[in-house]
Every structure is written in structure tokens, then in C-alpha cells.
Amino acid sequence: MNGTTARLIVNRLGSGVVTLLAVSIVIFTITNLLPGDAAQALLGQESTPELLAALREKFGLDQPAHVRYLQWLGGMLSGNPGHALVNDLPVAELIGGRLPNSLMLAAVTTAVSVPLALAIGISSAMYRGSLYDRTVNAATVWTVSVPEFLIATVAVLVFAVKLRWLSALSRTEDIETVGQFLRVYAMPVLTLCCVIVAQMARMTRAAVIDQLNSSYIEMARLKGVRPIRMVLTHALPNAVGPIANAVALSLSYLIGGVIIVESIFNYPGIASLMVDSVTMRDMPVVQACAMLFCVGYLVLLTLADLFAILSNPRLRK
């Protein structure tokens, strides 16, 4: 690694941190714009001016906005994002209980979708214009433009109602054997994979085709290199950066996808916690979940950029 690469990496990491701070300001501002506050929401009908003032002092709501923002940010950073309004449990505890479930779902989906999508994307780029390529193209466009809950409901209809292979709800607590694991994860993962694989395959195909159109590939073709070798050893190393980007962008789609999928299958993860909290307007939980998702999203995008920097042969020594 040389000086230029190191500087690029530090720059990228720095801009990631700055973006995250800006995002936290946006989230805090949106959730604090309305005149009503947590104290009012909690007291509801029984509020008297004295009670309200006392509770505001307890929550620190009598402070000006920028002080509250700094306190909130400090709480987030030190792993103590406050208490839920609904049941007064610590937010960290609520999230901690569900985070492993969401990470597990994400991990299984990634493990299934990435190899599948890369295989589909690269092969359809190799046989560009063929019947296979056009079928894949049409199928991916259709999958991307269909709502997730259609895929999920059709999956339930087919596998749980008609064939009775799987149960319509995912209960993670009674997983003991591999078979049970598969039964619980099959449908949420299938639904998430459908959309992610479609997006990732499209972007991978575009990245590989971009390389196949360049002149060094034409040179290789004129030399008489076999198609497989041409793609795998000539085009692919140069397409790694864009492909990493495609993978990261599609995986960050997981964040949108899990929100729907976790609620359909009643899967006990972060996203269903967040949806419940939005329904009940439990702001501390909403803020904490939102920050968690944004951190995940930005980490993925940053990793993809770092990968692209490191895979650029011009920056290698």
C-alpha cells in the first residue's frame, strides 16, 4: 500500500463519518420538529402544567435543541440511547434482544444471494443478446418492479397454504435442528433474495459488459482467447470495483426489504421493532433503530468504495 492509496482511504473514511453526523442531525431534526414532545405524549389527558414541567426536566426537554442533540448523540455513542416511552425498557436492551435475529437473516440472505447473483450477472453478460440473457433481463426487471409483499404472499400461498411445507410465521425460538432452521428461514430469505438477486445481477451484468466493450478485451479476442478465460481472467479483475459497489448497493436494499419481510413473517428483528415503534410513535426507539440502519447502510457503501480503491491496479504497488 502506498501513500496515495492510504490518503484515499483516510479521505473516504473521513467523509463517511461526516455523512453519518449529518444524517444524525437530519434524523434528530425530523423527529423533533413537531411542537408536541415526549412529556406531552406520555401524560396525554392527565397533563397539568406542573407535571409537564417536571417531566420535561426529567427528560431534559427544557434544554435548547442543540444541547439535547449533543446529549442524544452522546447517549447513542456510549450505547445508551435512552428508554422506550411505551414500556420504559432501555432501548439498548430492546435492540440488543433483536439485533442477532436481524443479523442472522441478513447473513443467510447474503450467503445465498451474492453467489447466485454474481453467477447470473456474469453468465448473462457472457452470452449477451442470447435467449438466456433476454430471459434473465426480463425476469429481473419484473422482479424489481413487483412489491415485496406480493412475492411474500405468493410464497406463503404456495409453500405454506397449498403445499404445507413451511409455516407462515417465523418463530426463531424453536430452532434445534438444521431442518427446522431451513423451515424458519426459507420464506423470508426467499423473498429477500428475489429482489436483491435481481438488482445485483443487473448491475453485475452492466459492470462486466462495460469491461467487455473495452479495447483490451477486443485485443484478447483477436488473440484467440477462449470466452471463459477472457471473462474470468481479463474482464473480471477490472470489474471488481463496480461489482463490489453493486453488491453493497443491493445489500443495502436489504434494509428496505427487511422492513416489509420481517413484518409479514412476524420475524422478531430490528425492522419489525421499528415498525411497531413507528405505529406507537415511540420516538427514542425509532431514532435508535433509524441510526442503526443508517450506520449499516453507510458502512456497506464505505466498504464498497474502499474495495474499489484497493482493487484499482493503478494504485497498487
Binding site: T31, W142, L249
Partner: protein, 284 residues
């Protein structure tokens, strides 16, 4: 200045014939747009009307698309939902594109600190996933139809801004814009008459694509119970309220979801045909 008007034959490329899939797409889009306008008035029953005792009835001559969980006619429910699904998304995406385009033109035409400021704000908004941003806004402000329109606009404006700005920066470096500046034309004139006519095609294609994303976003929100609120219902809420009929295999669950799918796929086919198969790969 319109150079195509001066020399029509040399400038205009031969118009490609509409492919079959493109024609199907256009027909579907036209059909749904018509239904969004006249659907509620041709529906056989009122929005909450005709509560029979036949719950989750299959498709029949009396109820073309079956009945829902209260025994209401599904066809009427869908026709009454069309203005919500299509209208709200259309209004939202129109707002998003208008603001995104105006901001992009301002940023590109002025340059300097204004460009920097707007671009940084948009970069921040783009770093928050769309569905998440929508959830936060709904959590903070509740969900009413005007608010859903604003939510959709806020969620998709940064993406429009990015694309329009990239186009506008290219266009404003052109000689004809420079000469307009040298003539002493006002900023507004340059933006509206010199830059906009030269970038409207990609912007329109982007508009269509974003409309699809907005429909998906809003029906996803309604599906979670955070979108259009009862007694009104868009197609997402129709799927939600009938989800218990899934185990009975009732058409009431699948039909609204299929309606969304035909709309979005139709728009996709139409864009593909109109923009000559060139399109962006992903949401952003």
C-alpha cells in the same frame, strides 16, 4: 433557439417503431391512469358499501374479483383505491421531480457555494435509505394523504436532483449557454429556455422510473398500516386488511397486489420502449 426547427430532416432521427412490449406497457399505463380518474364513478358499489355475508368469496359473476374480509365487492374496492395508489404517487413524484429539477438547475447555473450547499444537503438525504426516511417522517408527523405526498417527494428528490444536476452541469458548459450568458440574459431565462429543453428526455425517463419506486414505497407503507388510513384504502392497505384470507386462498389478497404489479411493470415496459432500452440499473 431551436436548431431542429431550422433543419428538420437532418436533425431528426427516424422514429423507432414501438415494440410489442412497449405497446402493451403503454396500454396498461393508459388503462390505469384512466381508472385513477374515472374508477370511483364506474365502480359497481360505493367505497364502503355492499356488506354482504359472503366473506372472502371467490370470483363469480356477481363479484368479479370476489369479496373482502367484510364481504365487500373487491372490484369496487380496487377501483376506489386506484386514485389513492396512482394519484398520491403521481403527485409525490411530480413534486419530487419539480423541486429536484429546479434545485439542480439553480445549483448548476449558479455554481459556487450555492451548488456546494445544495449538493451536500442532498448527499446527506441520499445516505438515508428511502423506506427508513419515510418511516421516520411518518413516525414524527403521522400519516395523512398530503403528508404521504410530501414524504414521497422528500424521499425521491435527492435522486432526481443528482441526475438532473449531472445533466445540467454538462448542458451549462455548452456554447449556447455561454453565449446566452454573454448576451446578458437573466438566470431564469437561461435555466428555462436554454438548459431545460436540452435535458428533458432523460429527466422524463427518470420520472417514470421514480414513479414506479414511489408506488412501491407508498404501497409498502400502506401494507405496514402506516400509509393511507381507513376508511380510505389504497392497494397496499387492501392487501393488508385481507391478509387473513391468505390461508383460504382468497382472491382479495392477491388481486390488489397484482394490480400494483401490472401498474409498475407496465410503466417499466413503457419507459424501456420510449428511452430505447437504455436505463439505469438501480434505485438511488
Amino acid at each position: 433557439m431551436n436548431s431542429a426547427a431550422m433543419n428538420p430532416t437532418a436533425r431528426r432521427k427516424p422514429r423507432p417503431r414501438l415494440s410489442i412490449s412497449g405497446a402493451i406497457g403503454m396500454a396498461i399505463v393508459a388503462f390505469w391512469l384512466l381508472m385513477a380518474l374515472i374508477g370511483p364513478s364506474i365502480a359497481p358499489h360505493g367505497v364502503g358499501g355492499q356488506i354482504g355475508d359472503d366473506v372472502f368469496a371467490p370470483m363469480s359473476a356477481q363479484y368479479w374479483l370476489g369479496t373482502d374480509y367484510l364481504g365487500r365487492d373487491m372490484l369496487s374496492r380496487i377501483l376506489h383505491g386506484a386514485p389513492y395508489t396512482i394519484g398520491v404517487a403521481f403527485a409525490g413524484v411530480t413534486l419530487a421531480c419539480t423541486f429536484g429539477l429546479v434545485l439542480a438547475l439553480c445549483a448548476a447555473a449558479n455554481g459556487g457555494w450555492l451548488d456546494h450547499l445544495i449538493s451536500r444537503v442532498m448527499d446527506t438525504l441520499i445516505a438515508i435509505p428511502n423506506k427508513l426516511l419515510a418511516l421516520i417522517i411518518v413516525a414524527a408527523f403521522g400519516s395523512s394523504v398530503p403528508l404521504l405526498i410530501v414524504t414521497a417527494a422528500v424521499c425521491y428528490m435527492p435522486g432526481t436532483f443528482r441526475i438532473s444536476r449531472a445533466l445540467a452541469v454538462n448542458v451549462q458548459a455548452m456554447d449556447y449557454v455561454q453565449s446566452a450568458r454573454a448576451r446578458g440574459e437573466g438566470m431564469f431565462y437561461i435555466m428555462l429556455y436554454e438548459m431545460l429543453p436540452n435535458m428533458y428526455r432523460p429527466v422524463l425517463a427518470d420520472f417514470g422510473l421514480r414513479f414506479v419506486f414511489t408506488v412501491l414505497l407508498l404501497s409498502g407503507m400502506s401494507f405496514l398500516g402506516l400509509g393511507v388510513q381507513p376508511p380510505h384504502a389504497d392497494w397496499g392497505s387492501l392487501v393488508r386488511e385481507n391478509i387473513i384470507g391468505l390461508s383460504l386462498g382468497a382472491p382479495a389478497v392477491i388481486v390488489p397486489a397484482l394490480a400494483i404489479a401490472t401498474l409498475t411493470i407496465g410503466v417499466n415496459l413503457a419507459i424501456d420502449a420510449l428511452s430505447g432500452g437504455k436505463r439505469r440499473g438501480s434505485e438511488g
